[in-house]
Amino acid sequence: MSTYATLQKQLQNYVLSGERDVLSEVMDGPRLDALGRLDVYATGYQLRLIEILDADYPALHVLAGDDLFDQLARAYIAAHPSVFPNARWFGLHLPQFLAGDAAFSAQTVLAEMARFEWAMNLAFDCTDDPILDIAELASLPGEAWSTVDFQLHSSMQRVELAWNVPAFWQAVTRAEDPPIPAQSPNAAAWMVWRRELTIYFRSLETDEAAALEALQGGGNFARICEILCDWHEPGQVPTTAMALLKRWIDEGLISGLRHQVSARLHLR
């Protein structure tokens, strides 16, 4: 007779990999033998996790089709058994898995769609950060511009995409016929974010993508200008930086200002 802890490991091993050590611990039922009864758990495990992935990656399912989606889901379940109490996180590693697994990595569109959909999932229920009001920026004294960092909304994520996955995703969401998957020669930067309860996404020009990247570490206006010098004439840089900043604030991408001096004082 197995101890309590061993029995649980044995039953889990049957569910995860079909190891039969638990069989001697299980009795036949009135209508089904022990193995048939154990299979209820093993089958249910697979189906439940496939269902979770389907809910988190609906456009990937349409893109891959039923058979390939089932195949990639089962491969992912085998490679990444859930370690999360909350099923919401089970699909976390699917984008990396599809990019790295030999059976799927050649179809790069799969990993791209997974990356895009997971970014949406993260934006969906992340922290309710505040959104900076443009008036707060307008009231900033001139000398403060060199000492304030702009805080990006925590829902903001950048995704590099070569395929037309946003258009495909949008069509699936609207129950329309999706476009034929098409790949551009070069990957473009996209961003996904949430304003209030609505999720948005749009593509980024290379200068804007670089400037936003600078902000991800908590950059200030001078840093944005410095980055933009690689694309614009020095005389145009402050105007361009200001226009970008205003757009980001209008879109709800900036959650607040951090005053570097007071932050340092606070740390003392």
Binding site: Q8, Q12, S24, E25, G29, P30, R37, R88, F90, L197
Partner: protein, 281 residues
């Protein structure tokens, strides 16, 4: 000693809160008494789930029903999970906090299923100690639910209802009696479901679950994807007679119909419970 909170009061007749019904609930404020949430669905940082929950909570009492406490696991309780559960409870002030008498994974893995426990004295001792820890941490009594099960362990020393009763009494927790799960397990294990109901102490039951299932001939799977069937209603009537008015809800997790359809089904529960408890008087 954990507080009794208000789980001793009868909340009436409720439904599981499901995302497909958000709009209908917010627009029509349907006539039902309370909602039960799956706790984990709202153990997130923000966004639409918590925003909708907060709005609906203003109009309805709530029960928090978890699926990942893993009270029967042979491994230590998950402190992060418990902190998340308490944070949500502090936010929505539920009338009831419940989870299942089961385990969900060991060795750092989670099967996202309600795995069965052998009905032994050792398991009773183990689970009782953990229920006390959870109740001390949350500061209230919890309800433990009987699960549908598909296997029988050779080492079990007592019936499932003796196991559930003993744990509830020793840990001083309450019971969420799932009438459908009794029916499902009775079929799968070949016991008398009425004997099960009669084996549960009348002073511990604080909530009933009702649901549909999938009868495959040689086994019944607890799928929550169909209406409650007549024999489960009959067992519910027996339970109502034994336990009196108890908070009742219908679980529907798949093949979810429009809200109006579930409200009609809930009306059936209300009618059966009313008739059964009238006969008691």
């Amino acid at each position: 000693m954990p507080s009794k909170l208000n789980s001793s009061s009868n909340l009436g007749f409720g439904l599981g809160l499901r995302t497909t019904h958000y709009d209908a609930i917010l627009e029509t404020r349907p006539a039902l008494d309370w909602f039960e949430i799956i706790s984990e669905n709202y153990m997130v940082d923000g966004g639409r789930p918590l925003a909708n929950l907060t709005r609906i909570r203003r109009d309805y009492p709530m029960a928090m029903h978890g699926v990942s406490l893993s009270i029967g696991s042979s491994e230590p309780l998950n402190a992060d999970y418990l902190r998340g559960l308490k944070k949500l409870a502090d936010r929505i002030e539920p009338a009831i906090i419940s989870d299942h008498l089961c385990w969900t994974g060991v060795a750092g893995k989670n099967l996202h299923d309600l795995m069965p426990i052998p009905y032994t004295e050792d398991a009773v001792t183990h689970v009782v100690d953990r229920v006390r820890q959870v109740q001390d941490f949350l500061g209230c009594q919890i309800l433990l639910e009987n699960v549908s099960s598909y296997i029988t362990f050779a080492q079990s020393e007592m019936s499932e209802w003796e196991f559930l009763r003993t744990i509830a009494e020793r840990a001083d927790c309450h019971i969420l009696l799932d009438i459908n799960n009794i029916f499902v397990s009775a079929f799968n294990h070949g016991f008398d479901p009425i004997k099960y109901v009669e084996g549960i102490p009348t002073d511990r039951v604080r909530q009933f679950h009702l649901a549909g299932h999938d009868n495959r001939g040689d086994i019944i799977i607890d799928t929550h994807d169909a209406s409650v069937i007549a024999p489960v209603w009959a067992l519910y009537a027996i339970a109502c007679k034994r336990f009196g008015p108890v908070s009742t809800m219908i679980e529907r997790d798949d093949n979810i119909p429009p809200l109006e359809e579930l409200l009609v089904e809930l009306g059936q529960a209300r009618q059966i419970a009313t008739e059964a408890t009238m006969k008691m008087q």
